[in-house]
Amino acid sequence: MKNLFGLLLLIVRRDLLLAMRRRADVLTTLIFFVMVVSLFPLGVGPETDMLRKMAPGVLWVAALLASMLSLGRLFSADYLDGTLEQMLLAPQSLSVLVLGKMASHWMVSGLPLVLMTPVLGLQFDMSVQAIGVLMLGLLLGTPILSMIGAIGAALTLGLRGGGVLLSLLVLPLCIPVLIFGTGAVQAVTSGLSISSHLSLLGALLVLAVAFTPWVTAQALRISME
């Protein structure tokens, strides 16, 4: 047990270190997120009432797109330099390795978006309470996006046109996360309880942690055989 946890930490630290050596990649995802969100007021006009209503959906969709953008890098570097093959051959559990990679991917591409949300929420004139719920939803939801996305990334490893294909495969599967995430914010702004939406998001997160690393490991074995 301790061994597995050590392995997990090792992979997370390695991937974070690699990400820190290529800071530009991390920043592009964040800048993309901010830019997509900022385009909406320019596209639909500056009426505050409408923007306030749209904000949760816009931020969630932008977060979804931003996470798609960085998914291609999840396994590709390791695949190209042969590290991934060694990981598959390693006696340790591949699922734990994959879980570590998912966790570090989320810290690099999901967590910054969550931290950036308050600023963007203020731009859309959201209330402090709504911003809090939105952040909570994103905090629960973005790890699920990374985990579902990892399945797609593993399946499309090394394919031509992988990026577009990846979005085609992964986006439909992410719809429940989007619905519950935005639903929580709409509930709080109309004075309803948020617990059902957030509980469902939490349940999806638990399911994802339990199953996606194994499925991704199988997908990697299929892609690498």
Partner: protein, 245 residues
Amino acid sequence: MAINWFKYSAPTTFYPLAGKLIPWFAASSAILFAAGLYLGFVVAPSDATQGEFYRIIYIHVPSSILSMFLYLVMAGYAALGLIFNTRLSSMMASAVAPTGALFAFIALWTGALWGKPMWGAWWVWDARLTSELILLFLYLGFIALHASIDDPRRADRAAALLAIVGSVNVPIIYFSVKWWNTLHQGSTIKFTGTSMQVTMQQSMFTMLAACWLYAIAIILMRVRSIILERERNTKWITELAEVKK
């Protein structure tokens, strides 16, 4: 006498069997289509509230049912192929996908045609419509992933994994959109009985059977082409009468 259950799981034996079955399924489908359309559009009375517009259900309902059912069939064959490594199951899965996508598209299209006079809009963001649209996306994802991998064995296995993940997610998507928003009516025909007029019900079931037989015939045709394409380097293919010609 021992029965060999796996006799027809080999492409070699399945190919001629499918060839023999196709005319039967195709002919009975054509007859049932003619009968169902006649019953539905001529014999069945107009609806009390919807007038003549309701008649689109004779195409809409069978294609919606089949689009959902065929996804399960596809995922089932894909899972069989992944677990037991049988070639034919994977070929069946990729043969089912285009027909399932077609039925999903027809269901959406006829739904839009019905929605315009009834709801006053071609499209509403309702739970049923949205989940049917997502189903179409899942079919397209399966087809696209299969098409973009050159090695057919890897393509089979990768697409199979996607189909299985999709089938786990389908109920989640279905209920999430259902809780999110709903306008589409519930089903009229239930296991406990129905409020539908008898002729309407008969023509609906005739159309359902016709679509079902059509799907089987077309899937068998497609799987025969896939067998020919994949096994083109084997001896038994080169010895087939239609290949020699």
